[in-house]
């Protein structure tokens, strides 16, 4: 039987299927179930700096007694922040006590540089095996230049990497004008891995209510194509591991990601739809296919179809529907 051991997060994983950051990983029981079903690691739901502020607002509204308890509420954001760390700590420690042996990765998303560092350090102390930076600046500020955004990324990443000793990885968005260079430069820091791509909360408009609503919370199977392309382009050109995320809804897609160069895949929507058993199916499907196709281990498989190895590499970089690349007759 094929050996599915792989490396990501700077760690050895006994399976290339990772449960991605989401509410899926919020309890000891669930984490245990994922391990039993063959997950190689779990990523906890991100701690969001912004959310602390929202909770602070909500608590202040709820508890407000005017000046009577202004002093009590004055630094309540620290209470909320410390409570979040405590919860993460409890989740990690209790999972480990309950016998979970796969890596538990903490995830953060902040605004201010000091908070990124603060949380990274605290989560390290809490016993996380690695940290995933859920890093994204929505470029909605029309005054903000791309160079500044990039600067911001590297400044913060530099600080976090300096202060934290456990492995740090980053989950990126595809929205960079110099994506290849960005990924490459990131891989040249002490970054232990890069995940392509995060899929964000989307909004839509409800025409009846005439208001904004959440759209397509879960991904669709066809959404894997973008990650596939970029894993393929970057594999072999980066100094760290790559993982694929978004749209992995069956073992075939996972296998394609490995072929393109991913060391592991992160899944979320599939588990939301089908439960923890989805992981088992995925692992089994991967194993069976590898056995059938004569792959003994992940190394033999990973990157077999990346930009540097395929016969027609230009396909990875082709974006226009020119005739030369394939016929489309409207079917």
């Amino acid at each position: 039987m094929a050996n599915l051991t792989t490396r990501f997060f700077g760690l050895e994983l006994k399976s290339p299927v990772i449960v991605g950051s989401s509410g899926l990983t919020s309890s000891v029981e669930k984490i245990k179930t994922y391990e039993e079903n063959g997950a190689g690691a779990v990523v906890l739901k991100s701690i969001f700096e912004e959310e602390i502020y929202f909770e602070y607002e909500a608590e202040t509204n709820k508890q407000d007694l005017g000046y009577h308890n202004l002093e009590y509420l004055d630094y309540f954001d620290y209470e909320i922040k410390n409570d979040k760390i405590k919860q993460a700590l409890e989740l990690i420690q209790k999972s480990k006590q309950a016998g979970v042996s796969i890596p538990i990765v903490a995830s953060i998303n902040c605004h201010s540089g000091s908070e990124w560092v603060f949380f990274a350090k605290k989560l390290e102390e809490a016993g996380a095996d690695a940290i995933e930076l859920n890093f994204f600046v929505l470029p909605s500020d029309a005054e903000l230049e791309a160079a500044k955004i990039k600067d911001y990324y590297f400044k913060i990443i530099g600080k976090v990497l300096m202060d934290v000793t456990i492995p740090v990885t980053i989950k990126l968005s595809p929205y960079f004008s110099d994506l290849a260079r960005m990924v490459k430069e990131l891989s040249e820091t002490r970054m232990a891995g890069i995940t392509l791509f995060n899929r964000f909360f989307n909004i839509d408009i409800d025409l009846d209510k005439k208001e904004l609503v959440a759209a397509n919370v879960l991904s669709h199977p066809f959404e894997y194509l973008q990650a596939l392309r970029w894993i393929g382009i970057m594999s072999g050109r980066v100094d760290c591991g790559l993982a694929a995320s978004t749209g992995i809804h069956d073992h075939n897609t996972a296998l394609k990601m490995f072929m393109a160069g991913a060391n592991a895949v992160q899944v979320v929507s599939g588990i939301y739809k089908h439960g923890a058993g989805f992981i088992k199916e995925l692992v089994k499907g991967i194993e069976t296919w590898m056995d059938k196709n004569g792959y003994q281990n992940m190394d033999e498989l990973t990157g077999q179809a990346n930009l540097q190895k395929v016969k027609n590499p230009s396909w990875y970089e082709r974006v226009q529907f020119m005739k030369h690349f394939g016929e489309f007759d409207g079917e």
Binding site: Y67, H68, Y72, D74, Y75, S114
Partner: protein
Amino acid sequence: MTTLAEYLKERRDQEWRAELRKKLKGKERTNIPRVKMPEVDPNERVKFQNVEVNLGLSIEQAQREASRCMDCVNPTCIEGCPVQINIPEFVKNIERGEYGQAASNLKLTSALPAVCGRVCPQEKQCEEQCFYTLKLKKEPVAIGYLERFAADWERESGSVSVPECATKNGIKVAAIGSGPSSLSFAGDMIKLGYDVTVFEALHEIGGVLKYGIPEFRLPNATVDEELENLKQMGVKFETNFIVGRTASFDDLEKEGYKGFFVGSGAGLPRFMNIPGENYNGILSSNEYLTRVNLMGAADDKFDTPVLRGKNVAVIGGGNTAMDSVRTAKRLGAERSIIVYRRSRVEMPARVEEVKHAEEEGIEFMNLANPVEYFADENGRVNRMRVQYMELGEPDASGRRRPVPIEGSEKDIDVDLVIVAVGVSPNPLIPACLPDLKVSRWGTIEVGDNMQSSIPVIFAGGDIVRGGATVILAMGDGRNAAQSMHEYLSK
């Protein structure tokens, strides 16, 4: 039943008040400038931890100030008082020279008038709702000073009246903690005829009034004299008694206690959880003030190097922070600095404390927030990194929120840091009662009648509110007494 408005009207219509109103014209009253509280000179007072800053009004000052009060038809000041003291009545009693009467008026609703006169944030309560503030845009009648005057006068006159108590009903009830909530609960229950015992973990009675608020603001003797009143009424006090450790609730129930009031306060210090906060020389305001106030650490003979610093930084902007920073000055600090992440106007402390602090040479480092501490080779803090802030949009408290300025960090030398960023409820009682409903933050959940999820247990004050004020704690104690009485009478 008469409504509050009817009651107030009835009182206002008394002949003596009508007469007094005629004594001076409105203009004559409003032309009198607000009295200035006599104070000990700042240079002198910073030498002593136990010299009260405010000296209190003289009889002449008090009467003159009282005559500023317009005895309004619609006394809005009362709306500003959480326990609805009949303010015009007591003020007018002072104006006509009936100081003892004034004190009795206060004691109808407040168990600790000498305390409240000193520590209530009047500028945000009664005085904010005074006719002078609202309509004349002038300085309000100094209601707080007058409250203190009446209470002090009564005490000093030696003619303290002991309120009447109903015949003993033989039912034992316990108050846990001896802060203002428990004291007012005990006062009301003893009046209703119950056999009341107050259990206090520390060796001193009074809760925060003793271990928190320093003597330069609230002398222990003042608190003790108010306590004497309760003792004379028959309230029993057990000190060095930790309910949940010395004895459990079960033990007390076996001893015959039928009802419990939990007023165990919020004594668990909070920290910011930033790097280096564990170094020596960094302590909570709670620990600092308790050691100075209750353990005589301010005494020169006391060997307390931990508590003495040359450069002392106090983190926070509330009363606790002001008390700590002023204490540090009195203990000999060369620099005592308030480090607060918002600006001056957003500070939760009483305006008077901030003013006094300024007079005493306290430095204010506003819009600054510590992010890390550093220590010398012995592990004693020697440096603090602060990050500067700017004010953003208003948050839910209505104050503009502090937003860090990236890259603005600066180091300052410190050898003592006192963290005064709030406290959390004491966890012991909830921990020994698994059926007691508590919030995510450890506060005991109660209904409007202060009854908890365990019917024989009522609670109030900071253990319910997280952290509030003396007057609200007292209000809770009264409310709980009324409800427990109804519950036990069923």
